[in-house]
Amino acid sequence: MAPRLVEVRQNILKHNDILARALRDRFQAHGVFVVSLVSSPGSGKTMLLERILTTLQSRYRVAALVGDLATENDAARLARSGAQVRQITTGTICHLDAAMVEQALDGWALDQLDFLFVENVGNLVCPASYDLGEHLRCVILSVAEGEDKPLKYPTIFNTADVAVITKIDLAEAVECDRTALERNVQTVRPGMRTLSVSAKTGEGMAELVTFLEHATT
């Protein structure tokens, strides 16, 4: 007998999506605002996050999860801010998924937190497919990466809520045309909010922190 074709229609990543939805409900119930950061390696995510944690720490209860293939170096760096930090080492896996986040949260009292930051593994491709239950996803790119980066990685820009352009103090040295960079963000994601910062000099950091505070409401 010929095989029969049966329509099933399921999202391939539905297990992740279900878990992400449960995480989102949990975050909501405990009143913690969750921000994820995605970028390529070397964009300055960790330094940016260290500055954000240090600033927010004086007024809010903040914590962070940080994903890397190996080492606890980033967790050690972020812990200098005084925030609670946990490292997720993924081994060979190139992205975080909702199950890894859930596992990393084990034992943490979420109702004791106002902000939780989740720094993804440095990768502009794979993290786009995985919902982590976050409220806000920031895609980060530095001026040193080339103005056309948004055009090369459109998917991640389409799954993120805001683009943060880092290392603007280096723009002149690396001959980055910031207007072209912003235009390329708008080409792949019309209307996307962009913020420009230098974690080193502090330029734009106050606006970024204010943006995060307002995003919670």
Binding site: M1, P3, R4, L5, V6, E7, V8, R9, Q10, N11, I12, L13, K14, H15, N16, I93, C94, H95, D97, V125, C126, A128, S129, P154, T155, I156, N158
Partner: protein, 80 residues
């Protein structure tokens, strides 16, 4: 290169649905959008590996291209 993770999820769901429907799954039809961030060739390669030693081992993967962000198991071909 997260196609292996995607393939493992696909095999899990196809196995669940196949078990619910009864019979042997001989083909798995999926829709992969251009903006899904998944490479078809790598997914096809990973699918064969992810299927090994599962109830749907040896099944064919049939990929339909779409324009959006779809990452969907559309249908199963079942032999009774």
């Amino acid at each position: 290169m997260h196609e292996l993770s995607v393939a493992v999820s696909l095999v899990e769901i196809a196995t669940e649905e196949g078990g619910r429907l009864g019979g042997r799954v001989c083909a798995v039809h999926v829709k992969i959008g251009q903006l899904a961030g998944v490479a078809k060739e790598a997914l096809a390669f990973s699918f064969d590996i992810a299927c090994q030693d599962t109830p749907i081992a040896g099944s064919r993967l049939v990929i339909e291209d779409t324009d959006g962000r779809e990452l969907e198991l559309v249908a199963l071909e079942i032999e009774s």
